[in-house]
């Protein structure tokens, strides 16, 4: 394999080979707010997303912190029930729609997808910028709804509570989500077209990095599922505003109809929130094992299998919601089935480690953390897919713990891992490795301390969305809150050292990890505005690390 550092010479044609004071790259290709707010560069748009979702992450995190503090005491000493209900709604809405869904696709996907396939940009750069503006507009609606008093429906907006009984700015909040949905759809459309039409010569489908496969599968879900939540929210607004009987039985509606529509979107949305993370992990595991992924096609196809099966399991949210018992059995069976492609991925990652040459850089620590936490999250999903057990733990903390293991233990770990992995490309700088490894460990410990006790709480019967609870459960809540404070430290540390490194860090070489992949071997760090001096021609498989492995530096 050609050494990466020799293939890249960031010298534009005509420029003297002598060291220029400023090498041209996308970060200094125009200065000032205007150059950023009107950019069509996928990399800059990725950074715009990075900044905006970080804001939402800390808003949602603040709401979670308040909830955890409230739950230190069983008597609801900190805030009133009304405030608590608004806090968990804010937490859910911001974390799901304004952090998790755009996290890996819109930040990391936007940044590296074109480079990975050997393109100069996405297929529709203007649409890409528009996506971000739409995202911000949706965010403004949501923040308006929050600041002007909040919404207490929970992120699930169950009817008829949300349409008839809830007071608060339900329509403003729903509008925010409705608008943001278009941002998701446009980004997905862009990714699909880009992947189909902009691949470099020789980059055929089975040479694509697995991150591209997972983004492709995610984009399919986004395009097909997001319109359903838009319709659902529009119907809520219609019933709430105009009194048209759709969901409220008193005016001729059916509350179960809402749940079917909502979960028909929201279950696939769960896969929107994990598939891209799986793609990131595939990249990091192969890179830091110096080995081609085990079972490339199985990992690639399992992403598509998850995307398809994810659409036919929504009923497992409704086992005790008065859905037909036969429907419950079908959905239970399909839910067990959807776990198989996820299991295939975990086994293939494990097999990739076998006979690799394993390095323990920060991204690898996140990837390994992901495998552990995702495995626990996935296996506890089987508990919930089992009809009889769901009858007991449905709508309890068991569910909360389960999906946080997937969403936070899985997706947030993958997102942070990916952010560290591509940080040299994004910023052109290196972060402090020791500090970053330490933070990854803190996050892992804090996460488990926060959420593992919640499995026990759930089986004991603690329902979700309870600011008051029976005192004998307090010990588990104290453990959980203690964990959450550790976790908070773990999240603030990367915010600090990554920001610091952006300005003051050591300059990064083009390929600091010795990774394969076009984004590492054919671009500088940070890349130039058009990514490549000359469009690459691909002649190799993805992850063509030399094998048998020679000892490397």
């Amino acid at each position: 394999m050609s050494s990466a550092s020799t293939t890249i010479e960031p010298s534009p044609t005509g420029a003297p080979p002598t060291r220029h004071p400023v090498t041209p790259d996308y970060l200094n290709d125009g200065y000032g707010l205007r150059s950023w707010l009107t950019t069509h560069d996928h990399k800059r748009i990725g950074i715009l997303y990075l900044l905006s979702i970080t804001v939402f992450f800390f808003i949602g995190g603040w709401a979670a912190t308040m909830m955890r503090l409230q739950l230190l005491s069983p008597h609801g000493d900190l805030v009133t029930s009304e405030t608590y209900n608004r806090l968990f709604t804010l937490h859910g809405v911001t974390m799901v729609w304004f952090f998790l869904i755009p996290s890996v696709p819109s930040v990391l996907g936007n940044f590296v997808l074109p480079m990975m396939i050997g393109a100069r940009d996405v297929a529709f750069p203007r649409l890409n910028l528009l996506s971000w503006y739409i995202f911000v507009l949706g965010g403004i609606f949501t923040l308006y709804a929050t600041i002007s008093g909040g919404v207490d429906t929970g992120w699930t907006f169950y009817t008829p509570y949300s349409t008839t009984y809830a007071n608060g700015h339900v329509i403003a909040m729903a509008s925010g989500i409705f608008i943001t949905g278009f941002s998701t759809i446009f980004t997905a459309l862009n990714f699909i077209v880009t992947t189909h039409t902009m691949r470099a010569p020789g980059m055929h489908w089975f040479r694509l990095p697995l991150f591209v496969w997972s983004l492709y599968a995610t984009s399919l879900i986004m395009v097909l599922a997001t319109p359903v939540i838009a319709i659902t929210l529009a119907l809520i607004a219609l019933e709430r505003f105009a009194g048209v009987g759709i969901f409220d039985p008193r005016i001729g509606g059916d509350p179960l109809l809402f749940q079917h529509l909502f979960w028909f979107y929201s279950h696939p949305a769960v896969y929107i929130m994990i598939l891209p993370g799986m793609g990131v992990v595939s990249e990091m595991i192969t890179c830091f094992s110096r080995k081609r992924i085990f079972g490339y096609k199985f990992v690639a196809y399992s992403s598509l299998a998850i995307a398809i099966l994810g659409f036919i399991v929504w009923g497992h949210h409704m086992f005790v919601a008065s859905q037909s018992i036969y429907a419950g059995m079908i959905f239970s069976m399909l839910s067990f089935l959807v776990s198989i492609p996820s299991a295939i991925k975990v086994f293939n990652w494990t097999a990739t480690l076998y006979k690799g040459r394993i390095h323990f850089h920060t991204p690898m620590l996140y990837a390994l953390g992901f495998i552990g936490l995702f495995t626990i999250g996935g296996l506890t999903g089987l508990f919930l897919a089992t009809l009889a057990v769901d009858m007991h733990v449905h709508d309890t903390y068991f569910v909360i713990a389960h999906f946080h293991y997937i969403m936070v233990g899985g997706m947030v770990m993958a997102y942070l891992g990916g952010l560290h992995f591509w940080w040299p490309k994004i910023s052109g700088r290196m972060y402090n490795e020791k500090l970053a490894q330490f933070s990854a460990a803190i996050i892992f410990v804090g996460f488990n301390l926060t959420f593992f006790p919640q499995f026990i709480l759930g089986y004991l019967g603690m329902p979700r969305r309870y600011p008051y609870y029976p005192p004998q459960w307090q010990v588990f809540h104290i453990l959980s809150t203690a964990g959450a404070s550790v976790l908070a430290v773990g999240y603030l540390l990367p915010l600090c050292y990554l920001t610091w490194s952006f300005f003051f860090g050591r300059h990064a070489p083009p390929n600091p990890w010795n990774a394969s992949g076009l984004e590492w071997n054919e671009t500088s760090s940070p890349p130039i505005r058009t990514n490549f001096e000359k469009l690459p021609i691909v002649t190799r498989e993805a992850y063509d690390y030399p094998y048998p492995i020679k000892s490397d530096a």
């Binding site: 085990f294 394993i358 089992t386 009889a388 057990v389 089986y459 004991l460 019967g461």
Partner: protein, 330 residues
């Protein structure tokens, strides 16, 4: 902390007929999950140590077919998962199937309490008294938003949905006092919508039931019979009336032919729908002339009228069975 935890159980009490079965599946799932997680952890840790970048372990490839491996680790979980699915489905179906002789108890959920009526008219708010060893069927509906009736000690819950009857069937197995929680978010005081279930020995339960004072409410069927006249139902559905309306005597539990050729089983849900949405399912041979009572009658009153109509189908020996003409007004 450890001694503190040692006093705290990891399971709620087992006090209902389904609890041991659910716990058995749960234990099996915990066992399988622990085994898989631990196995994976050991394998990954071994790989990480043996193939760390500084180690000089042999890295020449074994001749092992990837397809063979993929098929193995797809098939084995598939078989285990199918077994778990079947086991869980069987227990779930059994738990939700009411026994033939189950005692019906009527529950109306509303923001933020449970309104419970026993057949003999005994009324309680929040709590629930049930006999040990006798099957009980809660017939539940909501007066406003969706609630959920959850009894952790029985490992059972079911949503309480406005506009329809849902049911929760169980047999208490151990006398005691257990928590009832609302587990479907229902608004501001969702977390205060709690109460206690008192599982009592049958004789104690009977004397609790009978303990209503003399001026207290009548049985549900008696109240229903009175409402049947107050709401002028008897004007059409009574005996020897000129209006062409179906007689309600003896229809409960039967199958009736509908216009359009379908059949409907007359159960609580059908009776409720016929009172609130009378034009929905018309019995064959009758005109859709009945007005809707939607908005004029509370969920409790509907349940009482349903109880009365049910009583018309029970053998005359039953204490709750009273013909219309016999019912007395308080």
């Amino acid at each position: 902390m450890i001694c503190l935890l040692a006093d705290i159980p990891l399971f709620p009490e087992e006090a209902g007929n389904s609890a041991p079965q659910v716990d058995a599946i749960y234990r099996a799932l915990v066992g399988i999950s622990t085994l898989m997680t631990a196995g994976l952890f050991v394998v990954i840790t071994c790989f990480l140590i043996r193939y760390r970048h500084t180690s000089e372990a042999n890295r020449t490839m074994l001749r092992l077919s990837p397809t063979y491996l993929e098929v193995t680790w797809t098939t084995i979980p598939m078989i285990i998962f199918t077994g778990l699915f079947v086991w869980g489905a069987i227990v779930f179906v059994k738990a939700n199937h009411p026994a033939r002789n189950a005692t019906p108890i009527y529950v109306v959920g509303q923001q933020w309490y449970w309104d419970v009526r026993h057949q003999n008219g005994r009324h309680e708010i929040g709590d629930l008294h049930v006999p040990v060893g006798q099957p009980v069927q809660l017939i539940m509906t909501s007066a406003d938003v969706i609630h959920d009736y959850y009894i952790p000690a029985f490992r059972q819950k079911y949503d309480v949905v406005p506009g329809k009857y849902t049911s929760l069937s169980f047999t208490a197995t151990k006398p005691g006092k257990y928590r009832i929680l609302c587990s479907q978010y229902c608004g501001t005081d969702h977390s205060l919508m709690t109460g206690y279930l008192f599982a009592m020995r049958p004789d104690a339960y009977q004397s609790w039931l009978d303990a209503k004072d003399g001026t207290g409410p009548q049985s549900m069927a008696e109240t229903g019979a009175r409402l049947f006249r107050t709401f002028s139902c008897s004007g059409c559905h009574g005996e020897n009336i000129g209006v062409h309306a179906p007689s309600l005597a003896g229809i409960y539990g039967n199958s009736v032919p509908l216009q359009g050729g379908q059949f409907a089983t007359v159960d609580d849900q059908y009776l409720r729908d016929s009172i609130l949405r009378p034009t929905g399912e018309i019995v064959a041979g009758y005109k859709p002339i009945m007005p809707s009572y939607q908005g004029q009658i509370s969920e409790e009153q509907v349940m009482q009228i349903v109880a009365y109509i049910k009583s018309l189908s029970q053998p005359p020996a039953s204490a709750t069975s009273l013909p219309v003409s016999n019912s007395s007004t308080p």
